[in-house]
Each structure stands twice: as C-alpha cells, then as structure tokens.
Symmetry: D2
Subunit: 150 residues, 4 copies
C-alpha cells in the first residue's frame, strides 16, 4: 500500500543563500527531482512522455511548507506520492526527510494539468497512467485514486 | 487603499526550461524580488533589517498558482501586497502581470516568521513594522492589518 | 569608438550563497542579461533571432575572473562588448562594475558559434550582423572587427 | 597516478533552458558538485573546512569549454582533478563525461584562493592539504604538484 517512491539528493553549495540555508525556491527543484524519479521507478522516463506522446505536465499550482532549515551537504530523502490522479490533472505530494533521524524538513504538493505542445488540455495517455498508478492502482475503481499522506 | 508596490522584471534566458517557458520554481524568485522592492519602497533595505536588527524573515510557507506561461524576454510587473501582519508572522501576496495587457501570469503568497540569527521566533522590530505598513497602516487599530487581494 | 552597451541589474537574494556573496555561476547569468541587452540596444530581440532566422548562438566557451565579491542588493552595471565577430563565431566580453565607485567586480568572455536548430554551424544572418556591429562596424573592412577592452 | 575522483549526477529539468539543453552557467554548478565530492573522497567535508579552520576557497577564475550539448535526464560523470596546488591557490580541473560512451560534454577549470572569513589571503591548513593531495602527493617534493589532464 506504500504508494510512494524515495530518492536521495545532497544539498549543493549553489542551493544555499546568505542565510546559510537552502534558498526557498530550490525546494521546488527537489520536488521535481522526486517527481522524475517517481516516474522512472514506475517505468516511465518523463522525457519520453514529452517526446512520444506529446503530452506535457504543466504545473498549475505548487505549495511548500518549510519545517526545518536545510543546510549545505545535507543528504535528503525526497519522498514522492501520487496523491490524486484525475483524467486531466494529477497531484503529487512530497516530503523532504532526514535519512538519519527521519526529521521532516519540508512538505508540499504540485498540481499538474496534462496538455499538448500548444498548451491545450488533453487526457493523460492510458499506458502511462497505468504505469504511474502502479500495482495497487489496478484495482482502483474510482476516477480519483487518492493516496493519503497521513 | 491600494497597499501594494509594483516593480518590473524581465524574464532571463536562464529562467526558462526546455518547455520554452519559465521553470516553475523561478516564480518564487520573482516573488522575492517583489518582496525586496516592496520593502525598499517603504524605506527599508531588507539587507539592513538582517544586519541592524538581527531579524530574519524565515519563509514558513510558499504557494503559487500558475495561470499563463511566462516566456523569455517578457516584461513582468511583480505586484506585491502585505496581506497580513501579525506580531511574529507576516504574509505577502503577489501577482505577476503583463504590463501591456494586464493579463495575470501567476499569483501566490509567502508566509514569514520573524526569527533571530539562531532561528528563534521574535517580534518584528517596531520601527520597521511602521514603515512596512505605510501611511494607511497608521490608522489601523487591529493587530492584523489585512489587505484584500480581491 | 566605445562599442559597448550598459545595463543595470540588482543582486537578488536567490543569487547569494552561504558565504554571503553571489554564487560563482550566477555571474554567467549576469553576462547573459548583458548580452541580451546589447542585442536589444542594437535593435535585435534575441528571441527574434531564434524564431525568425533559425539561428542559435551556442556557447562554446565561457570565462570569468572574479575580482571583488558581489553582495545582495548591490546594483551592478553589466558592460557588454562585442569583442570579436567572425563569420561563424562571435566573442562577447563583459565587465561587472559598481555604478557608484567604478570598481570592477568581475570580467569575462563568452565565445559563441552560430548554428541551426539541429546544432549545425551556419553563418550569422547578414541583417543581424550589421545591426550588432553598429555604426562603427559599417566602416570596418576586415572580417574580424575587434573591439579592444583596454 | 590517476589523481582524480568521479561522481555521477543527473541533469534536472530545472537545469535546462528553452534551447532544450543545459543552460551554460549550470555547468559550473556541476563542477562544484565534483569539487565537493573530490574533497569528500579524500576525507574532507568541505563544510568542515569552512567551520573548523575558518578557511574559504574563494573562486578567482572559472572557465568552461562546451563540447556537446547536455540534455535533460542525462547521466553525467563529473571527473575532478586537483590540477595545481600552491601555497595560497589551487586549481581544479573538470571533465563532464557520458558514462556510457565516454563522450566529453564539457571541460573546465576553477582557480581558488584561500582566505579567511574577511577575505584576506591565508595559507591552506596543512592537515587538509595532505588529505587533498592524497597518497601520491606525499612523495611530491615541489610546491606545485601538477596533474596533467592530457
């Protein structure tokens, strides 16, 4: 039932600001890394979606709640959930976690709309949909398969 | 009653991604530019707050809703509102606007907590508070002077 | 004979790192802003070159020499020179200057190769060439119109 | 005699620009990741140098030669050499390599000056020096232990 994927990144010097912590917009970059890895673990190279199916996951909304400062050289687990999957939108949720202590550095969500190259909304290709949802998605009856973050 | 400040930026090539639009985390950078300018127009150099009063505006939360794609070389008005001002937190709201058409590219909010260098919460220095709120803030009786975004 | 163009930027909080100064790769972003402005002042929107003539200025080399640290909120003049202009390559040179004191923060160069969308070298469109070189370029006889940086 | 260290990164969506390739300043970020890993493999956490010895490696110069475009999701080996080590300066050299084909994407160098917190030049702490140079550095007699890049 654990419908998430983990990957680990390390904070770069470039990511910090003069307060000595990671600059706030860079958390969204970490989310993107988690999103890409989530897709890859489910058998999808995100680049391939764009190329093969002419489908783009436009970001419609992004949110981040900052819990504890992240510092240079810190290892961080990016835990990515496919929180909601509708016909033309999907919501990913993220947690940035200290791999040693389990401390939560930050959490957030991104909402995506599926479009074609010209930005017109379209349905997400079925083959990718099945892969993304993973094994437990197969049995889901509803249009929206929600994954609780607790 | 329009308690906002405008400044104009221009989208850099560095800000775009391979979709040909501004990468989603960079909107938060634009918000920061707006926040800094808001402070400056009210007579406060943000760098000075950090240096002189040992007060830091830690970001506790950030949100952005993406309305229309932003492209390279586009001029953008960053309209910044001080949406809420409490003793130890403040919320800025932002609109990214096309200066020619008035089209809204994106909007969002950031919530900040005032801390000392060690990250302990503290009250925002009174002198800066008065400046930030501006003329119409003087007459405000309540602790929270809210500015509606419509 | 001063064949350069100036534009002014302001250091963003996002540009700093935990040493309290501008992170070293961001100087190249400032160079790009200068390059774009140089083109605009000569009557060329760089975006238009890409769109209309299917010509891309691929960066072949970049160099930066860091003289003095740049800090948050500092205003910086980006002075851009078209240092050399050959058939299929051009070299821009840059100086980052304190507008108040004239102090040099950094200087550098970027070498560009003109290619088509597929990355194949091509000649730079004549109409843009004439605009870029500006008035003093008209009288230049040699293939390479060099501008000395002192 | 192979005095280099390798680490692998993956190109993020955030790193690309509208030309569909990695934006040119981000190569310097990859160099920094290689530099940090080089130090770590030699038993030094770079963050620790700053904290414990009050020594900073200020960048004095950076160069990059771009050979082949780098694209989203590409895995890249960052090969880092300590090219030259003098009393108060050191030069790192870098190669960005395709792990599958050995193709060189880019190469470059960064020159660093050792300073204290206030930016005054100082000698690099001996204990770190020995670690950085590694086993083959022990037998080097000259002040400058140069590593050829071929």
């Amino acid at each position: 039932m654990t419908s998430f994927e983990d990957c680990t990144i390390r904070v770069r010097y470039a990511d910090t600001d003069q307060m000595g912590v990671v600059y706030y917009s860079n958390y969204l970059v970490y989310f993107e890394v988690g999103r890409t890895e989530f897709c890859r673990r489910r058998g999808i190279a995100y680049a391939e979606i764009e190329r093969q199916s002419e489908s783009y996951l436009i970001v419609a909304e992004a949110r981040c709640r900052y819990r504890r400062p992240l510092r240079y050289d810190q290892e961080v687990v990016v835990r990515t959930f496919l929180q909601e999957f509708r016909k033309r939108t999907m919501t990913f949720a993220y947690q940035l976690i200290d791999p040693d202590t389990g401390t939560l550095f930050a959490e957030g969500e991104t909402v995506h709309v599926v479009t074609d190259r010209q930005g017109r909304p379209k349905s997400f290709p079925e083959e990718y949909r099945r892969k993304l949802l993973g094994p437990e998605g197969e049995t889901t009856k509803e249009e929206s398969s929600e994954v609780r973050m607790d």
